[in-house]
Each structure stands twice: as C-alpha cells, then as structure tokens.
C-alpha cells in the first residue's frame, strides 16, 4: 500500500493541524485540532461507481490512515449515508461527493480517510 506522507498535517498531539475541507468543492468539514490521527485499516467504496453496482457489490479501496472524530457534532458540515451493515458513510454536505470516511454504529465514532480530504485554512 502506498503511504503518502502526512506528517505536516499531524500535530505533536496527533491532531489535525489545518482545517479539513472537501477536495471537490472546498466546503469546510472540520476545524483544526478537532480530529485525532489513527492508523486503523478500513476499506471505503470508490467515489465513482459503475452504474450497475448494487450496495452489496461496491468497488472499494483500502486506507490505513484515518482521522477519528469522537462526536459527530464536531463536524462543521457533513452528510451521513443510509446504514450499510454496521456503518454509515460520510459525504460532503454540500456537493455530496464521497465517501470521505465512515461512521461506526458500534463505537459511535466517525473516521475520515486522510487521503480523501484536503487541508487548507
């Protein structure tokens, strides 16, 4: 797995240094220092799916670097998909692109893939 170097984005106390935005429309998703770096491994569906794909048959991509958000109300703007298994996927509240991450219904936390969002103040 290719590992992009995000060290500039992670502060000493493992938080996001910059604001997190939608890479498609720049919508503000999270303020700085509101998520916690974690190296959990999880596969997210691809942003673009073939028209014929059903929910049980989505193409996915694996990520191993996530931002963990304890409380969903920490988000400035975010959309939640319908439930799939134990998860809801997180999409942009404005342009609805995504998923950028997932919400785990068991631990109630949210996770955003470092690679699926952009960093800009």
């Amino acid at each position: 797995m290719e590992v992009k170097d995000f060290s500039n984005e992670i502060t000493e106390d493992q938080k996001n240094r910059n604001k997190i935005r939608c890479q498609y429309c720049n919508c503000l998703i999270l303020n700085s220092a509101s998520a916690h770096y974690t190296d959990i491994v999880f596969s997210l569906p691809l942003v673009h799916q073939k028209r014929s794909k059903s929910i049980d048959d989505l193409d996915t991509e694996e990520f191993n670097q996530y931002w963990m958000i304890e409380d969903m109300y920490t988000f400035e703007n975010i959309g939640f998909s319908n439930t799939v298994g134990d998860y809801k996927y997180l999409i942009c509240a404005d342009c609805e692109m995504g998923p950028f991450g997932y919400h785990d219904l068991k631990d109630k936390k949210c996770y955003l893939a470092l690679k699926r969002v952009k960093y800009e103040n």
């Binding site: 429309c25 509101s34 569906p45 673009h48 969903m72 999409i91 509240a93 404005d94 609805e96």
Partner: protein, 205 residues
Amino acid sequence: MSKKTYDLLFKLLLIGDSGVGKTCILFRFSDDAFTSTFISTIGIDFKIKTVELRGKKIKLQIWDTAGQERFHTITTSYYRGAMGIMLVYDITNEKSFENIIKWLRNIDEHANEDVERMILGNKCDMTDKRVVSKERGENIAREYGIRFMETSAKANINIEKAFSELAEAILDQTAGKENNDNQERVVVDRKNQEKSPAYSRCCTS
C-alpha cells in the same frame, strides 16, 4: 473527552406527502442518468450543517424520511427530539396541499408540543403546472400561525433561507426559556469560531 465547539444543536425534520420534493430539498443529487457517484446508490440519511445566527454557532441536524410517509406510518420515533419541522407540499399537486392539514394533525399527535413548524410550497419553478396559488399557502399558514415560503429544490430558490428562518424561530423560542432545561445543548467552548454563511453552497459550479 471532546469539547463542544458549538452553542446549540437543532434537530430538523422534513414531512409531507410522497413526491413533494423532501429528499431533493435535503439532497442535491438529481436522479439523472449520468450520475454515478457513490451516494446515488446508497442514499442519504441526514446532514449536519453549521450556521451562525446572532453570533451563535448552531448545528442543524436535518433528517429526511426513509419513505415512511407513503404508508402514513410516521410515528413518535421519527419525531423524537425534533425541534423544527418543514412541512412540504407540491404547488402542482392539490392533494399534497390538502394533506397539509393531516400532517399538522400528525405532528400534534406525535411531536413535542413546542416544535417550530414551517410550511413550504415546493416546486415553485413549475409555474405552468401550478394548481395551488401562493395565496392559499399563505392563508393556511396564517390560519395556523405558521411561517410559510415557496421554494424550489430544483432551481435552489429559498432553500437556504427556509432553513435559516426555521433555525431562527427555534432560536427565538429557546432564548425565551433559557436557563430552564436544555442545559446539555448549551455552550461550552466558543473558540475556533468561523464565519460560515447560513446554509451556504460552497460549490463553485
């Protein structure tokens, strides 16, 4: 422990007959044949949007029905905790307008009694197909003492405005009974505030 970075949290619902445009009001995705994004396959449950009103940072959590309205099975569990309700009809559909009365009764039965309501006459872009005049919408709203607006989810008319007005009405109401309940929802931390326009669409396209 995570700190709260907002002042208030308002849970809002969309209610009305099937087909009036509730999902489109929440959901920008249009079901044209070319969309092939992930979300068009799975569908959306709710959104969290941050607005700033009178210097307060407010999180709006907006829910769509999962189509239960088709079977008239919207019950207490869907209404639980709702502080604001958008009651939607379609200006090109007489029946959906007449059913507003039914929905009002349903809200009375199942929702909190102090829930803020607002009536939306949606699809106002379809002028040639209009069967419900704006005046009739205004009249029913006046009769029940509720706010009213005509909207178009398709042409993006008054959508943002409707949500910020509803939020403002709830804010007025909460301000009226401050220091009573709602302690849990109230401010803890007001750092990191950012001016983000109410319900802005930040896409440039």
